[in-house]
Each structure stands twice: as structure tokens, then as C-alpha cells.
């Protein structure tokens, strides 16, 4: 059976089903219990599984993220919730120098199967310390996978795959989209990590995106089609590490024009990796336009609504960029 669910509920369903299937799966984090999670993702799971499997923690991210790493080393499958991805600042070590490296440092003797879930992104007036998009950080760390769903369907399938994976996974949830709905099957299903999804087929330009910018890119592609007869292909990467480079190259080989869109600041952002990846192939000889990237302005996220908006990538700027690529401005 298939019905509409929000990303929030799709994530909760994924966790519920995996916790039912596998008793080694459990959840840890701040206020994941009776508070039901700061973003209401864990919801009533504490009532279904008890406080031994949905564990409220003290405000000690290093301790509980590190404890998740240890528990994973010893055979459990923890899911850790970090309320906002920005808080990785206080608990980077268990991820960077422990989870990501233990299998390797041990000469392949010990696995760390765990999922670190974190909400990310701006748009909610949460200002500089609660709005960052830090995926490029995580992607540069060998030893972890980085997953970023943008729809409820993908959220459920990718989270189930992540929980079943044997590697540490950073699972980034676009905070502004938690309530976005799409059709989600009731039964558990997986989506392979490292497979992009073409969310809209097109032939004139490839829009490569992921996470919070997907809805904007889709809207953009409708406008471009309707008003300018430009047929966009929208590629949703869904996971950044592993990266589906074939999907990117195939799309660009077809359209010969590419724009990369993410919410993170552009400089040294993940878009650079995508652009670099294309530019290291012979596709550069075929491109009809230089590769464009659009990300947030290179500043922290300001509080005021109008400033926040003008800092983030906006539909109208994207439109201008794309029209320029077609020499329509």
C-alpha cells in the first residue's frame, strides 16, 4: 500500500520498521523521547519501544555520539539524532577520528555500523549557529557515507538502507522540508546508497542538486519550460558519498549545459566537486556554456528574514543564471 507521508513521518516509519526487524537498532539523542524530538521526527517511538531503545541523553554530544560509535563497534546499530547539524562542532571527534577511521586503522577488523541523523539548513530564522549546510565537510572524510534525501519516498528508503549498511553514515535531513509530503509505500524498502534519481527528465540543461534545493529546482524547471521552452533535467543526487558520477556525466553528456545548485555556501562547497568532476572529463569540449554553480553567499546566515532570503540561493537568481547560459538576458 502507498499513501502520502511527510518526510518527518517517513523517517519515523523507517526507524520503526527497522527497530521491529532488528533488535540491535536503537535511537539516542537529546529530547528524542517524551519531547518527541526537537523536529518531531522520533515522535511516539519512545512509547512503542520504551526508553531503553529510544534513549534521551544529557547535553553531551561527544559522549553520546562517541557511545554510539562504541556500541556499533560492539555489534549494535545505533541511530543518533543531532538536533541541528551545526552541533557537529562540539562532537566532531567521534565522527572524524573515530567512526570514519576505525575499520581502516584496525586493518579491516572492526566495523562501525551507525547512522548519525541531523537536521540541516536555513530558512527558519534560526541564525548563524543553527542554519548551516555542512555536507562538504562530511564528504571530504574518507570512511563515512553521506546521504541527503529531499522527498519522503527517498527519506524512508535511504534511511532503511543506511541503517542496514555496515559503515558509519551521516544522514542529513533538510529542516525546511520536514513537512513536505509524497507517496510512500507502507512496506519497508531500500534505495541503494550512491544512486542519483532523475527527478525530471529534460534535454536542454542539467540541474544537479540535492537536499533542500530540490523543490526550488523543480519549480524552476516548470517555469523555464512554461515561459522559455527550456527543458530542464533535474538530477537529485540523494547521496553524495558514494556519488553517482555516472548519473551526472550521463545527464551532462545529453544536455551539454549544467548548473549545480545547493544551499551551502558556494566556496569550497560540494558543488565544486561536481563541477570538478565534469571538468576532468572530455565533456568540457562539448559544453555549450561554462559550468555554473549556485550556493548561498559566503557569509554566515543572518537572522532577519529578508537578509536570510537574499543570502540563500533564490529562484529568481537561478532563473537569471540559467537564462544567461542560454544567452536569453
Amino acid at each position: 500500500m502507498v499513501r502520502k507521508l511527510s518526510i518527518r513521518l517517513a523517517l519515523r516509519e523507517a526507524m520503526r520498521q527497522e527497530m521491529e526487524n532488528d533488535e540491535t537498532v536503537f535511537i539516542m539523542g537529546e529530547d528524542v523521547g517524551v519531547y518527541q524530538g526537537v523536529n518531531q521526527v522520533t515522535g511516539n517511538l519512545v512509547y512503542e519501544f520504551g526508553s531503553e531503545r529510544v534513549m534521551d541523553t544529557p547535553i553531551s554530544e561527544t559522549a553520546f555520539l562517541g557511545a554510539a560509535v562504541g556500541a556499533a563497534m560492539q555489534g549494535l546499530k545505533p541511530i543518533v539524532e543531532l538536533q541541528v547539524a551545526d552541533f557537529i562542532s562540539v562532537c566532531l571527534d567521534p565522527l572524524l577520528n573515530q567512526a570514519a577511521k576505525i575499520r581502516f586503522m584496525s586493518g579491516n577488523q572492526i566495523n562501525v555500523p551507525m547512522v548519525l541523523r541531523a537536521a540541516f539548513g536555513a530558512g527558519l530564522g534560526a541564525a548563524a549557529q543553527h542554519s548551516q549546510s555542512l555536507e562538504a565537510f562530511f564528504c571530504h572524510i574518507p570512511g563515512i557515507k553521506v546521504v541527503m534525501p529531499a522527498t519522503a519516498y527517498d527519506a524512508k528508503g535511504l534511511l532503511i538502507s543506511s541503517i542496514r549498511d555496515t559503515e558509519p553514515i551521516v544522514f542529513l535531513e533538510p529542516r525546511a522540508l520536514y513537512s513536505d509530503e509524497s507517496k510512500v509505500p507502507i512496506m519497508p524498502y531500500t534505495i541503494p546508497l550512491g544512486k542519483a534519481d532523475v527527478k525530471r527528465k529534460g534535454k536542454d540543461i542539467s540541474i544537479i542538486t540535492y537536499g533542500s534545493m530540490l523543490p526550488v529546482c523543480l519549480e524552476l524547471s516548470f517555469i523555464l519550460e512554461k515561459n522559455y521552452q527550456i527543458d530542464c533535467e533535474v538530477v537529485d543526487l540523494r547521496s553524495l558519498q558514494p556519488l553517482d558520477t555516472d548519473a551526472i556525466l550521463n545527464s551532462v553528456a545529453k544536455t551539454k549545459r549544467v548548473i549545480i545548485v545547493h544551499e551551502a555556501v558556494q566556496f569550497a562547497g560540494f558543488g565544486a566537486e561536481i563541477a570538478a568532476h565534469i571538468s576532468q572529463t572530455d565533456l568540457i569540449y562539448e559544453l555549450k556554456s561554462p559550468i555554473r554553480r549556485v550556493g548561498a553567499k559566503f557569509t554566515p546566515i543572518p537572522f532577519a528574514k529578508h537578509l536570510e532570503e537574499s543570502t540563500l540561493p533564490q529562484l529568481k537568481n537561478l532563473l537569471t543564471e540559467i537564462l544567461a547560459m542560454f544567452e536569453l538576458t
Partner: protein, 333 residues
């Protein structure tokens, strides 16, 4: 009036009387009453503006905690520096931030405390010694050590006060900072607003040892542990703490109080009983001071009405000024 519990670095406990200058200074007490009422009114108005869609973002109110904030800041000099938290409106007002600039900040205006860049969580005013308003729990502690270190190196007669919550005590940054401050003898006070919850988690589910003074002992620091709902106790205790800090003896100050408001606007109060909230509403620190001043015949009902009216006007004109002012400008960085 409660006494001041003083726990020495070696664990010895004594109880001290309140500062007589505080007890006898009714001008001060009236000012404290005014400021607490102003702070309460500020937050109620902010809440209303939020509910009616004027404020973007989130809002952490400290309703019920006014004595802890206003009493402690009242014991400071202008030159003293404070670092406040996500729940920092009250301390900001106590330290002298203008409520007009605070409303402006909430509305994203150019005249805002942080020029519209900070919002509710990050209202900063260096001219009043409000150097940082931190949204990262526990992160004020190391910064405060550095500010105190600088004050000491600069030979200033001033201290740094690090505000933080009970929940923040479990961040590693806090323990590291207690050690550093104690080791380096820094002029810093760790003012811990113990409202018994970190978001939804009650202190007994987050602290293995709820006798908080033991943290101080572990790092050779004295702890002052008081009724944070009695503004006169708070003010006296902060004076004492400040004296120590000025002599380069860092101190932990535990301000025991209660957050009547939810954690933030999205809080559904699923984690506590209504009766508990009701109980603490009865112990309102503002009413408490008001009653004491009434009993001592330092004010009467007419005075109170005057105060309330004055505050209402002050709030309204601050909101109006904020609403009339320009939207925050883009700064070239």
C-alpha cells in the same frame, strides 16, 4: 529571605547573610522590581509578536527566571562583561541593553542590537559589556575564560560572567573551562541558571550527581548555591561572587529557579506536569519582591499601578520605534 550557601573549594559549607546594603537600599529594590517587570513585559510582548507572525525564527523565553538574571546583572559594573545564552533576553535587559534595540532586533531592523544579524538568540551590545549571546550550549564557558584572561592581562577592574544553564553543565566545554579558570585564576563567574530542565530533560535524568557544588570541588572552585527566585539573594550573592572574581578567584554561582514558559515556542510541555508549573507560578520572583516592598510599606498599590503603566508605555513606544525603523541593511563583509 533565604541565606547564601557557600561551598568552599574544599567542600566546607557555610551560610552567609544577605548583603545589608542590598537589604536596606530600597531605591535599588524598586529598580530591581522595575527591571524585572520590564523584562517580563518585554518577553510577553515578544511572545505576542511571535504568535501574531511578526517575528521570524525562534524564541526562548525566561518567564519565571527574572530574579536570577536581573539580580545578578544588577550587582555588576558597566565595565563587567557578560556572555548570555539562547535564553538571554533577561540578562541583556538587566545589563542595560535598550529594549527598543531588542524589539528592533526581533523584527530584523537596522536599529537592532545586532543590526538584524542575530535575532532573539544573539543580541549583543559591547557598549554595555554584553559581548556574546551564544546559541551553542556550553560554548560560553571557554570564551568567558578568554575574556577574563584578557581583563586580567589588561589589569582592568572588571570581571567576566558566563551565563549558562543546568543542561550546559554536561558539555565537555564546561568542565574544561572550570579547570582552566581555576588553574589560571581568572576573574570569571560561572552563573548557572538552574531551571531544572535542559529542554525536556530534567536534571535528575541528565546529571549523575545533582549536588552541583561537587563540580566546583572537583576543580578546586568555590560554589555559591542560592534561591534564584529571590532577587535580593541573587544580587547579594553576585556581589560576593564578583568580589572573589576581582581577586582572581573564579566562582560558580548556582541560581536555582524555574522556567515557567516552554523551552521555546514549539514546546508542548509533554515532559512536565501542569501542577509543577502552577506551583512555580505561585513563587513568581516579581510578585515576591513586590509583596516584600508592600509589606515594608516602601510602595503602595498606586505606585505599582504607576510602574505598570510606565512599563506598558515603555514597551509600546519601544515596539513602535522598532516597527518604524528601517529594515536591516546588507553589510559588505
Amino acid at each position: 529571605m533565604s541565606k547564601i550557601k557557600f561551598v568552599e573549594a574544599n567542600g566546607d559549607v557555610s551560610f552567609r547573610e544577605l548583603d545589608s546594603s542590598v537589604l536596606q537600599d530600597f531605591q535599588l529594590q524598586k529598580k530591581l522590581l522595575y527591571t524585572m517587570k520590564l523584562a517580563r513585559a518585554f518577553e510577553e510582548k515578544a511572545n505576542e509578536l511571535y504568535a501574531t507572525g511578526f517575528i521570524h525564527g525562534t524564541l526562548h523565553l525566561g518567564i519565571g527566571q527574572e530574579a536570577a538574571a536581573i539580580g545578578s546583572t544588577a550587582a555588576m559594573a558597566l565595565e563587567d562583561k557578560i556572555l548570555i545564552t539562547h535564553r538571554g533576553h533577561l540578562e541583556a535587559i538587566g545589563k542595560g541593553m535598550s529594549i527598543a534595540s531588542m524589539f528592533s532586533e526581533l523584527l530584523g531592523k537596522e536599529s537592532g542590537a545586532s543590526k538584524g544579524y542575530g535575532g532573539s538568540m544573539h543580541m549583543i551590545d559591547p557598549t554595555k559589556g554584553i559581548l556574546h549571546a551564544n546559541g551553542i550550549v556550553g560554548a560560553n564557558a571557554p570564551l568567558s575564560c578568554g575574556i577574563a584572561l584578557a581583563l586580567k592581562k589588561q589589569k582592568k577592574v572588571a570581571i567576566a560572567t558566563c551565563y549558562l544553564g543546568d543542561g550546559a553543565m554536561n558539555e565537555g566545554a564546561y568542565s574544561e573551562s572550570l579547570n582552566l579558570a581555576s588553574l589560571w585564576k581568572l576573574p570569571v563567574v560561572f552563573a548557572t541558571v538552574n531551571n531544572k530542565y535542559g529542554m525536556s530533560t530534567p536534571i535528575h535524568k541528565s546529571h549523575a550527581n545533582t549536588d552541583l557544588a561537587q563540580r566546583g570541588i572537583a576543580f578546586n572552585l568555590p560554589t555559591i548555591d542560592i534561591d534564584g527566585n529571590c532577587v535580593l539573594t541573587v544580587c547579594s550573592a553576585m556581589k560576593l561572587a564578583r568580589e572573589f572574581a576581582l581577586k582572581n578567584q573564579p566562582v560558580i554561582l548556582i541560581l536555582n529557579t524555574y522556567r515557567i514558559s516552554g523551552h521555546s515556542r514549539s514546546d508542548k510541555n509533554r515532559y512536565r506536569e501542569d501542577s509543577e508549573i502552577l506551583d512555580w507560578k505561585k513563587r513568581c520572583p516579581i510578585k515576591r519582591l513586590e509583596n516584600s516592598l508592600l509589606e515594608q510599606k516602601q510602595i503602595n498599590q498606586v505606585d505599582i499601578e504607576k510602574i505598570d503603566l510606565k512599563i506598558k508605555n515603555e514597551i509600546n513606544s519601544a515596539v513602535q520605534a522598532a516597527q518604524l525603523s528601517e529594515l536591516a541593511k546588507e553589510i559588505q563583509w
